[in-house]
Amino acid sequence: MLNKIVRSNEFVIFVILVALSLVIGWVNPAFYSVATLFDIIRASIVYFIMAYGLLPIIIAGGIDISFVAIAAMSSYTVHMFLISRGYQGGILLYYVLACALGAFAGLLNGVLVTRFKLPVFDVSLAAFTMWYGFTLFFIGATANFDLPKGTVGYYARFLITSQDPNVGTTGLHESFLYVVVLGVFIWWLLKYTTLGRGVFAMGGNREVAIRTGFNVNRIQLVLFLIMGTFSAIAGVTQGFLSRYFNPVLFISQPLDVLAAIILGGAAITGGSGSVIGTTLGVLLIQLINRALILTGIQVEWQRLVLGIILILFTAIPSLRTLRAKRHGRAVQS
């Protein structure tokens, strides 16, 4: 049992995460504080949510990049609509409306993929461009800073707070609860439902999955529905955390999320991946991004260093997989 844990991808990522934290803390002791932990979690919240929504699609053997565009479209559209109607209420209506829009956009992807037998990536590429275009052209192209009265101060609603001598009060933001709930949901879905087993079967071998009796079209529709809904939640959450709504929200971030999922042990060809691995992958990407500032590496070097770190870090689990194969061991999925 212990042996199995030590051999798992998740464990390797976890060790790397700890090692990197030790190095950063060694260079800059200010890193070791509860505030740092809360800051990193806060910056990761939306990436967790988007990654959880995307993970089942990756496991089922598809690659999608349109989730960021759906997040931007649903959050910005709902915001501009409510603001134009003079809405001054709370945050709940935002989530309800945005989830509906996001689910619709996700389903549209799903219908195109299942009905017309199009590759997931091709459809997502088109949807990525289309939704950003739609938002910019029909809804608006400027960032909007007017928030309804009922939502002012949301960015500082903390579950627990912590005083840091340098950055003041930070805390574990309320929206971390969404991350927990959504993460557990995806974990349960993948592990304990027929649908979840079907997702792994599809990613392993689609033909076999069909012959086994899985309704792959229905599974895919559900996955895209989930992806669209989660993206919408992430978009609205980001809007309130950063106190403005942006029509090109996350436009340069789809690869960060994909990279996190893949770092977390999901195969880009499908068939494997886990919620825990994805969580660690998101944290690792965040930590690498921030490590460079915390350790004071010159910004001109940042990209080079980031690239090298990423190559090294991806190579380690991959090398282990290759070696395991050479030794004829079954690869843990």
Binding site: A143, D256, A267, I268, I311, L322
Partner: protein, 369 residues
């Protein structure tokens, strides 16, 4: 087979990761000296409204006609520029109007210029989307006896513009930012810079000149680093938080992209350090307004497209009337009282104003954009 596949997939992953580290520059299209990108907001419902008022009415014999052509009429930025153009028309008693494609497109812009040549306007002030693509049309207009003045086109080739008008010299703007920051820092302490990206030419020119100016004039200022905000406030916010941890004694922040000072200002405000840290940078009230009021952002600097549009037409007017444009002359437009005349990199004479505007909590309401 599987092995080949897994090796292939690793390669794909690596290339994905490396390319993700390179941060695609997808966000803001506008070229070099463009304002804070997001100010150019197309409210999509108002496309061709202003299009071609002159297309139908033939200009009266005695009345001079000044056309201003912009990248696209669907941007708030150019809506503001149009105000300057119309004001010029009133002040100088000429027919002045603005025109441009409903979407940024050099070909459509060239077609509009050709149309204006055919109509025989007296002067064209052109704000080209693509400088090289507009050059042949500008030359054609000049050959037809039309005065052509450019804006945001300092790199145009010799003989394709009579003059080019720029709100300011990038280097002078950077130095001005530094002066404002240094005076708020008591001329000593650590400061950092934000740029939208390390490849954005104007952002880096501002900040490099600011740094050089500080090294020469403020020996007690200590430069810590130039950080990329990736044109994203959230990145600026997170970066600022980490900088506060790494350099708790930071005293000043310079921003370049419109969101830089907003992100940094939020982190500073949450840390309760708005009185200890000076924040100065390019931004506009619709972005930084709330933080300007609380003092988390001390000063937002920008330039006003309305005065640029006005000045561009004034230059055209003076050239048309045979007046000599000389270094140091006063165009009679705020910010263009003592212009600097230099030859641009490709041979076009370039007129620089000092037309930056400074906005703080007291005067921000005068600049509703």
């Amino acid at each position: 087979m599987r092995r080949a596949l897994s090796i292939l997939s690793i390669l794909v992953i690596l290339s994905l990761l490396v390319s993700c580290a390179q941060q695609p520059a997808t966000q803001a299209p506008p070229p070099q000296t463009e304002a804070p990108a997001a100010t150019e907001a197309p409210p999509a419902e108002q496309p061709a409204a202003t299009e071609a008022p002159a297309a139908t009415e033939a200009p009266a014999e005695e009345e001079l006609v000044f056309a201003t052509v912009v990248k696209s009429i669907a941007f708030n930025w150019f809506k503001r520029l149009e105000e300057g153009v119309l004001k010029f028309g009133e002040d100088y008693k000429v027919k002045a109007f603005m025109d441009g494609p409903s979407q940024v497109d050099s070909a459509a812009q060239v077609a509009i210029i050709e149309n204006l040549i055919a109509q025989g306007v007296d002067a064209i002030c052109n704000v080209p989307y693509g400088v090289p693509e507009n050059e042949p049309a500008q030359k054609k207009a000049m050959d037809a006896g039309i005065i052509v003045v450019g804006h945001e086109a300092a790199t145009a080739k010799e003989g394709t513009l009579h003059y080019d008008v720029e709100a300011f010299d990038n280097c002078a703007y950077g130095e001005e930012m530094m002066k404002e920051l240094a005076s708020r820092m008591g001329e000593s302490g650590k400061y950092i810079q934000f740029v939208g990206s390390l490849t954005n030419a104007s952002h880096n020119e501002w900040q490099d000149c600011a740094k050089a100016y500080a090294e020469k004039n403020y020996p007690n200022l200590e430069f810590i680093g130039k950080y990329e905000s990736k044109e994203d406030q959230e990145v600026a916010y997170n970066t600022m938080k980490d900088i506060l941890k790494t350099h708790p004694d930071i005293k000043g922040v310079l921003g370049s992209a419109a969101g830089d000072v907003v992100g940094a200002g939020r982190a500073i405000e949450e840390a309760g350090l708005q009185d200890q840290i000076a924040v100065v940078g390019t931004s506009i009230p619709s972005y930084a307004g709330e933080l300007l009021k609380t003092g988390a952002v001390d000063l937002a600097m920008a330039w006003d497209p309305a005065t640029a549009g006005y000045a561009c037409n004034v230059v055209a007017y003076k050239v048309l009337k045979g007046e000599q444009i000389v270094d140091g002359m006063d165009l009679g437009v705020p910010g263009y009282e003592a212009i600097k005349l230099v030859i641009g990199p490709n041979g076009v004479p370039v007129i620089y104003g000092a037309a930056w505007i400074k906005m703080d909590a007291n005067n921000m309401d005068d600049y509703p954009f």
